[in-house]
Symmetry: D4
Subunit: 209 residues, 8 copies
């Protein structure tokens, strides 16, 4: 595997047959987890038939073989509303598949601060927080102000009009007044999970006695 990161197949534009071929190759060449992202249900069924022992998470659109055992690195994935759910699901499913200890916190938007404040203990416990938010993306700033841990913000393309298919949330997160937030591409739960994995590879060995 390149530099310790799992090889992940990107589904769009590939036929089920192409995915089968690449996945088989990766399973043979490595011993760790093998993933395929953004796979539609019909494609997933065909691929799982051809390559045994995999699982499919429909909400996350993720295929997974040989998931990693859970490591002692706590990731919290926070999201504001139901519409950002699929992106949060991708982040959580990819992170779980590569061995992070994932907790999901849902329905905590900035328009209802008390719900956000109630989950503060869960956030305080995290080694890393992924914030998934669309529309104005303000949740990232609020979480960034509550925790000292690394915060990875994922803008989503939910919303309409001035939300500009995620560009507004992206720009807002990059301009956040909460210091030290980092940002990944629009709708990329995958990228956020991989960024968390890079952190985990540094934190985990440090913890080992």
């Amino acid at each position: 595997r390149r530099q310790g990161l799992p090889e992940v197949v990107y589904g769009p534009g590939k036929t089920a047959e192409q995915v089968v071929g690449i996945v088989r190759g990766l399973l043979a060449a490595n011993t760790g987890p093998v993933l395929a992202t953004r796979i539609e249900p019909a494609t997933a069924a065909t691929v799982l038939d051809a390559v045994p022992d995999g699982t499919y998470d429909e909400r996350a659109r993720l295929l997974c073989w040989r998931p990693a055992p859970v490591r002692a690195v706590r990731l919290v994935v926070v999201t504001a509303g139901t519409s950002d759910g699929p992106v949060a699901a991708e982040a959580a499913a990819v992170a779980t598949a590569i061995g992070l200890d994932v907790t999901k916190v849902e329905d905590v938007g900035v328009a209802g601060l008390h719900r956000l404040l109630r989950v503060r203990p869960v956030l305080a416990d995290a080694d890393c927080v992924i914030v998934v938010a669309g529309m104005e993306g303000a949740l990232a700033s609020a979480v960034g102000g509550l925790v000292a841990a690394p915060v990875i913000a994922v803008p989503t393309s939910t919303g309409y009009g001035a939300a500009l298919e995620g560009v507004t949330a992206l720009l807002a997160m990059l301009s956040s007044c909460a210091a030290g937030l980092t940002v990944v591409n629009i709708d990329s739960g995958f990228a956020a999970a991989m960024a968390a994995h890079r952190l985990a590879m540094k934190i985990e060995p440090a913890r080992k006695p």
Copy 2:
């Protein structure tokens, strides 16, 4: 005055002499307040010399003659940091000059939610709230979720890079998940005060016995 709104001179692109001429005309034609916005200090000094009984608010860059007496409509102007100060000052000074009862709340950004929650009683008491915020503009969403009163959001051009000179805050406020926020142009403390004035003209007579 057109439709009950004060006539206000827009300073940029006008010489001190032009401002003097227009202000004199308005003072003669009406009996209410006369304002000039975005006036630089040197111009202000010249104009005040030529047209007596005016005052100049340097932070707000506002000239004012014949301010209105305070009316029973409470406006709160909220801002996150010192860099948004001049725009908040313009909103507050214009609103005061046209008779609103203005309270300023400063330094309450979303990256420090407890300071924002501490001022909740002040917000709860408002007939109208103006939120002035740059960068990602998230403060508008948080305030919009805390109060039931009309909230007018003013994006500012503070920040750099992805803040896009206020465009990011503007788009974020328009995309806010807090229902029923309204938005005015970037850096327009003036427009927000005028929008509050339109509200006040409806609320105040309703209150009179």
Copy 3:
């Protein structure tokens, strides 16, 4: 209900079953109106079957249960042409459902000023005016110059080419030379109605003897 505003379900991305579940929860938890916006006809039929006593406004794409009784706050919804109709319908239907006294004024574009001037008495009577306009959005400036009441402008995504799916109308309304206009997101009849509701909550108690 959060801060006195009605909870409103946002339809896109939710199955009929999910809408049913959320609406049932809200009806049980509150006593006021419950709404669901942007609901397609087929979904609406399924939801109405499952949750009795609701109504569906197809043009507005709005589901409503327990509408509020009409309050003494007059809202006028103005629109220029037939293509902006669905957005105006959403604004009017949401506002009616939450108790505003709504009048609709249609087919009064700036390219035919005399029709607009003919409706001036209706506008003069309003506590609040919502202007729904696409293309260049000039109607908002014209109405803003005719009335002293609060004016909430809703840009729509009608038009083609340089209309940029509503962005042009949005920018034009924010840049309007009519002082004190406020603006909400593109196509958001819902947001405009909620902004009017915030205002109504301030006017109505003041009017009560």
Copy 4:
């Protein structure tokens, strides 16, 4: 002269010496008017010293030699406010120099429709109308709805924030609901005058007995 249009020197980026040289060449090669646009006062003074019998219009920043006699084609240049004045001045000065019979109508914005309606007789008399407007550019739509003559809209870069240095007015004019408006580049009073000139060359000979 190329295809019957006057040769006009574009000033920016040229030294006074370069302008002198080009103007001398054009005066020698042709017999009609010679113009230089966007010339700053200091440059203008130097050029006028070197090339006799010219005039300089400071507001329009236009140098002119051998203006054409007035032709029987009536052009009206309409503008909303003082800040659009320099662009309107350029349109009027260029048009006058090339022989159009120009009337200026000022201070008629859409936020004050009655002033606009008062000048309707002047507009009705025009062979061509140039509308110069910044901010949201709504004046072009209103004028386009009032007259049947050709209307040429010039967006200006006045305004701030969402006015986007004239781009908003440009897009709004192109999206106008008034049928058959045409548009030229931002701040280009020159282009509008030249477009009027193209029209005049068709109308005038037709009128001659």
Copy 5:
């Protein structure tokens, strides 16, 4: 009819029944031509069944009743390639329906200057030229340099990538180095024809003895 322009129904978003109703109303209220633009073939068939004596131009997607007799004003519609054909067809069909004497010139792009130069006599004869061009829109500059008549440029949304759905051609035409070009909205053959009609109404009476 408003200010002498024909009333034209804009098809998108209207059912065949709605179009029938509006067209019947306009035929009854006026005596001149009645048009409906952007009508799909199926809708057109239904409408023509219900409202007799109309014609449908499928390429132009135009319905027409009571076309005007041909007037002595020559319009040339120029286009570079087959992909801009439908927009040129709309311009020509609308212009013909309202009485202009239309000539079409096709397949003369700037990448083949000799074909363009060959049609110069046709262009020289025009009272007005409409240039329809997509991609980089350079044809408008070339034609603008060849003729002294009014030139109306219509950018089209043909092309891909950097053509940005017509925005590139629009910006290029507005920035053209050919003086006095005017521009209408992307793909709006209709707007160009209406602009030509405004010109024709000035040129034609001037010609009459």
Copy 6:
């Protein structure tokens, strides 16, 4: 200090006197490092006179009091050319001031891959890598492919034309094919250092015996 992060004063828009006041307050209220970013040399001199024991890094434009002792967390700051130097200097100086063990690697652009490959051992040793790059920002992708550690990309506003003042590098970094890169705002060496600090606070205690 809020959530364990150092309080840092943002210089732009503040007078030397304001900076002095805020820094004094922070030095009195906390015991850790106190920083002020984006301070021009003249302001820095005045502030250092008034508040003893500080240092000024002119390239980084950073004022610092009470720097933290070096911690066992290795940060590498990589940059391609001399023009990105000031942003890299800010990242390195802020990170050093808050206790990270910083190594700088310069002049390793993707147009000269061998220089980049030569520094691979230094990169392999890092706990975290900050990549500062302007123009097309490709260096971030190349580094992201070489190391497994967390990579924080900082786009800079160097370059011209299509570099769009850093927006191109920003978008490119967000779209990078190297999995798990994270990105901060344009020119924000500060944000990158703070993101590294959040990570360090997780790694360091884990490492302590």
Copy 7:
């Protein structure tokens, strides 16, 4: 043929019948290769039935008649991943059809520099290199730094979010720090092949003894 370049039919917006007609005309009028680009499989089948002796490359969506014999000019087409494949296929197929000696190099992205360095001998041998890359387009910079030959970069619309349908790769390639890269339109394998052909027409005769 115009200036020595092959005439190529652009498929989109044309019916199979139109393509047949144009291709027949070109085959009759010239003796060299005739191509049609962006042809869907169904259209291709119909056209090949009607016009004998052609071939269809489905991946490249290219129809070809009378391909040119291979000339002594070596073109290498480089691409990073499978998703950019169709654009690379178009570049290679068009170039082959017009007589270039084409080698394809695949799966060499900047996130895996060693694979890129392994193909250096192939690149060193090229007379011209076409780099096809989407997302952040960094591959063009890396190749531009490795070879002295002309490099033509083709941005592709693969990727999502911040990739902005190819605009990010386009801007990045134009801003590349590798000196002397040139760029063509997004997804235009065709344009790149034609640019290579222009070069080949200069190299080849020079090589002939």
Copy 8:
């Protein structure tokens, strides 16, 4: 020298002392030409004092030491107007310094096609053509249609309003209907010259017996 290209110092952001240091290093390390671009006159004077035997081209803002002897590769640099002159000067001066045989053709815009057609023999003789054009950039399409040689288009930032500081010309050139044009960054005469140099290195040896 990297891959056969001359090393060129990029002036902006460097002090005269820094330029002196880098140039001395390059002169010592190589034997070929050494250039420094975008150097202001004052800096140039200082550098030439310190590093003997250099020359400065003020219009091109180029410093050059050890220019290459002229090679048998003909480059023509075409430009439309005087305002694009500095960029054309940079292209010509850099190309001359690295040994190309440069001819300049000026003042041939598309609005005057006959002047362009008159220079056709010069263009026909070129091994490579660089077209420098601002505003709508249409000259590149016209030249691309006239010659079969490689054409490199350089958009410039001249013009105003819709010219968008060169972005319009850039997009127009990329969208050109002339097949096989390639494009470099806005205002980058340097990049165009380097692209021509890459071509020359292939053409020249092919020519040698």
